[in-house]
Amino acid sequence: MKLVYFAWVRERIGKPEEELSPPAEVRTVAELAAWLAGRGEEYAYAFENPGIVRAAIDRKHVKPDAPIAGAREIAFFPPMTGG
């Protein structure tokens, strides 16, 4: 699946997007964030406070318990500050 990152999540991880295949036991957005956090210190830094990072699946906001099965694009980003 394609993962995309924005704002300080993107800066901490050091890339705007990547293609990854998480293992089958990673079923939800929260589990995906935890799996990513274990991939290296830049990911651990981005997800050091996982409660604050928001997510979208296929360009729609989702909660941490949302299942990721079938997702084409999953985005992680800080709380939004537009307007």
Binding site: F6, H61, M80
Partner: protein
Amino acid sequence: MDCPITVRIQPGPFDAAAEAARLSAGRTDVGAVVTFTGLCRAEAGRLAALELEHYPGMAEEEIRRVAEEAASRWPLMGVTAIHRHGRIPPGGDIVLVVTASAHRKAAFEAAEFLMDYLKTRAPFWKKEHHVDGSEGDWVAATDADDRAAERWRR
């Protein structure tokens, strides 16, 4: 009710007066047009510019979802929402919301709803650039914005 919805995400400036005029052009049933423009503040001279990052695709889709919800909750005759991205200097326009209705109450309320929801749901992030040339921090989301959006929940 026929409520044309226009959503645009663009780097360049917009013409608020022209966008407002467009919502009532050629029709005689519109009695109220509310226009809100959000601008970049200098923050006491500290700020050289705001840089607005966005999620292409989702930004337009999410604002359209919010506009459609507004049109379902109030008797609107038109909604226009324009959000800029990229580097915007103090005094520059950031966001425009225009609502049209037969009466002012719906137009006022819908415009406020749109802005409250847009601030907490539209995928945009502001970074500060300082006048001394240094790159500042990402602007933090505020509890006040969350509460403003929360009060429309039902």
